[in-house]
Symmetry: C2
Subunit: 114 residues, 2 copies
């Protein structure tokens, strides 16, 4: 899966991992149905705790991008890269809004105006 993280970065480790996997789905470097490495394995390769990887998986599961089931592992959902793209854009928008100091309310209003 080729994931690289920066322990010194400001963004949390689980967010970095989730973001890179999301990116991989958008770019279709991983296709629907494809299986991701077990949390324990990915964790050891990244030199982080298994919980950190599980949390990243959980974020992507909540977004509908991954199907996570115990005993079976983690596979890319069939919703396709289109949704991943949307979510990625949403993340970027929220991050930029935060950088510019927009409140949640202001962002919502901005979106409604658009």
């Amino acid at each position: 899966m080729l994931i690289q993280i920066d322990p010194a970065a400001e963004t949390p480790l689980f967010a970095q991992i989730a973001g890179q996997i999301r990116r991989s789905i958008v770019e279709q470097r991983v296709g629907h149905g494809e299986r991701l490495p077990p949390a324990k394995e990915l964790a050891s390769s990244l030199d982080v705790n298994m919980h950190t990887v599980l949390r990243a998986y959980d974020v992507l599961r909540a977004e509908g991008l991954l199907e996570v089931r115990r005993g079976r592992g983690v596979v890319v959902s069939s919703v396709g890269p289109g949704r991943a793209k949307l979510i990625e854009l949403a993340h970027a928008l929220v991050a930029e809004a935060a950088r510019q100091g927009l409140s949640r309310r202001e962002l919502v209003k901005l979106l409604e105006d658009v």
Copy 2:
């Protein structure tokens, strides 16, 4: 806040806590802007780990029901009990679907048909 949990129940502790707080918002037993007890405090009163309470808070934050900020604590969001009601119904629907063995796809289709 009057929360009671059952450690022997099948539903996870964090879900029990989140569910009861959600219910309290629906019934307007807690109003918007009202502050919830610190995680550490609620945890000790429920005899669970602080992380478990924080996870419950995080669930409700993701649902837009709570505003959680470090240093300041947790307050009920101003979105009102209407949204809480919707989310509660959604939870009930998903739980019932799971009991009846419906897949995610079947549930979505059922919703679309309705």
